[in-house]
């Protein structure tokens, strides 16, 4: 059971790295979808596990909602937005891909180093999953830093949220149900608001390249 979840969490991490390696908007939306799918899968598996054990169905619900939101709804919204606002295909990342990937690996190693001398987090599967999930979060942040387009930032934010979700799920076996729900709803609103803003930005600045947003400084 646990090694299965270990595998999954590692896969999720890998999907994050993959995401980092994507050049085009479309492609990284795709890989985000993949990541969310993996998470949903993990949730589903663990949910069934809990169900069989002590009849908790919360994780299953979470899993379903995840599939609906993160695998279907949000990526579609983003693709549509992207299709609406994108006029020309332009280079999106500042550093080139290999360097970014290398940075990710360094980051993972660093996090491993810093986590593994914290007792309580440094034994067995907890350690691995902790490392994975925190890495996912930081990679998400790195992704936001490295991408110039508004969509890219949204994706990065979503990856961070995924990371949090993974942490919650694997490490603490799920937050209280209310909290999980709340988080998901928040997430949805956030993405919608950001989407709307992308539209507004697009028609004020007629581009979604956020490097154009540099009027306020000092």
């Amino acid at each position: 059971m646990s090694d299965f979840s270990n595998t999954l969490s590692t896969l999720i991490l890998l999907s994050a790295v993959l995401l980092m390696a994507c050049k085009r908007t479309k492609s990284y939306i795709k890989s985000f979808r993949l990541q969310s799918f993996l998470i949903a899968l993990a949730a589903g598996v663990m949910g069934t596990g809990n169900m069989l054990k002590d009849g908790q169905f919360e994780l299953i619900v979470v899993c379903l909602i995840t599939i609906i939101l993160k695998v279907i709804l949000i990526p579609n919204i983003l693709i549509k937005t992207e299709a609406k606002v994108e006029h020309k295909v332009e280079k999106d990342f500042i550093l080139n891909i290999p360097i970014l990937v290398i940075i990710c690996c360094v980051l993972i190693v660093f996090i491993y180093a810093s986590i593994s001398n914290i007792e309580g987090l440094n034994e067995g599967s907890v350690n691995l999953q902790m490392v994975n999930s925190i890495s996912i979060i930081l990679i998400g942040l790195l992704f936001m830093i490295s991408r110039k387009k508004a969509i890219g930032q949204i994706i990065g934010f979503l990856v961070i949220e995924n990371g949090l979700f993974v942490t919650a799920m694997f490490v603490t076996n799920g937050m209280p149900f209310v909290v999980d729900m709340g988080i998901l709803i928040d997430l949805l609103t956030a993405v919608i608001i950001m989407g709307v803003m992308v539209f507004k930005i697009n028609d004020k600045f007629d581009s979604i390249n956020i490097d154009k947003l540099r009027n306020l400084k000092g």
Binding site: L141, T167, M175, I193, M197, L213
Partner: protein, 492 residues
Amino acid sequence: MGLFLLGIPLIAVLLFLIIKENKIQHAISVVTSILLILIAVYLTREVMLFGIVEYSSFGGFFYIDSLSIIVLDIVLVIGFVASVYSIQYMNHEIMHEKIKPKGLRTYYILLYSFIFTMVLALSVKNMGIMWIAIEATTLSSAFLVGFYNNKQSLEAAWKYIIVCSVGIAIALLGITLLHLSSIGVLESRQFLSWTALFDNAGSLKSSIVRLAFIFILIGFGTKAGLAPMHTWLPDAHSQAPSPISALLSGVLLNSAMYGIIRAVAIVNRNLGSSVFTGRLLMGLGILSILTAAVFILTQKDYKRLLAYSSIEHMGIIAVAIGIFSPLSVFGALFHMINHSLTKSMLFLSSGNILQKYNTKQISKITGLLKVLPVSGLAFLIGLFAITGTPPFSIFSSELSIIVSIFQANHLFLGIVVVILLAIVFAGFAVTLFKIFYRKTDEDIPEPGEANIPGTFCIIALLIVITVTGIFMPEGVKNLLNQAQSIITGGLA
């Protein structure tokens, strides 16, 4: 009774959805805020009597103690002031086609959902829900920041929502870790409940708690505008409509700081000393004060200037929490109150200035005292108040904070803080005082106050901050001390 606190804003939001008439909307908003004030008064009395207000309904998530009531009162008072101020302000904006008449509705809806989320964040026991509420404050205020819908405000809004959401996400990681450290200590129904965590703080896994605190500090610190995560703050404050700026810096920062304080209480109790949290908080605090000082020295935009001064004051509060002695925490809470009142007064009067001169450039403003005799004077006095000159309230709270620093044997830190405060004052003097002087040859907008009710609010706030500088009712003192003992109780 207390649950109305959450109910009323929601009802108001629904009403705004239905009603289209601007006048009625104004009326509703004022009535709502008055009701909220009344409830706040009631709750304050309850807390003063019983210490804690709890209801078993909805799984007993509703929880108010003297710490939260203090911040809550700030929220509601500022909310009231802002809503009264908004009437004329928004009318003026509509009149000058800054916004469409329909916009008012959106404005009020967002405003009250903003207030609702903040009230929620302050009145729950469960840290998860608190986190959700604080995240929600970002979402509800994002469009308020970008309300004018022009390039700058959109940019500010985007930065605001992105930076804050990321930060808050980090905070969630921290809370998750806190939760992790409590697994096996608490049974599942008190998961994440602050009281439970606080009571059993001793038996949490210290190492994880440490890690958790880092993430919580960075997360909520982003929202509270501590350097180096403060970057969203000046943009948002300068671009939002003035009542909203008042709310942001008078209230939002405090509720984020409230989150940090809650966490600090647990962590210190768990570690049995305030050294670890103290180092981090003092570090970030000093960094914030320093940043503010440097940025204020050559600032050209008065709303940004005020924003940076908010960063400075958050820094002071952070330092005070870091010291974590009874006196310092008392000072920190008192400082929260004073800062919110003073700063929102300043933002409101700056709103008047903006509508008179419609520029944010300091260099383009002269003869303020002639043009706006009342709110201009209030602005001048407010500047002295915010920079900690006696006999205003901020001086008294800064005084107790500084004394507490010196009591805690941080001589060098204390001297640095004192000097930095003086530099901040110098910055204000050099950049901002010129707007009051009268040049006879300049052409100035026609004198007279536009926003009468708003001006009354400003005067009221001014009186309050002046009086509380010298005199403080016993009740308030006790309340502050209760809150202080709740926070520092772990180490006592």
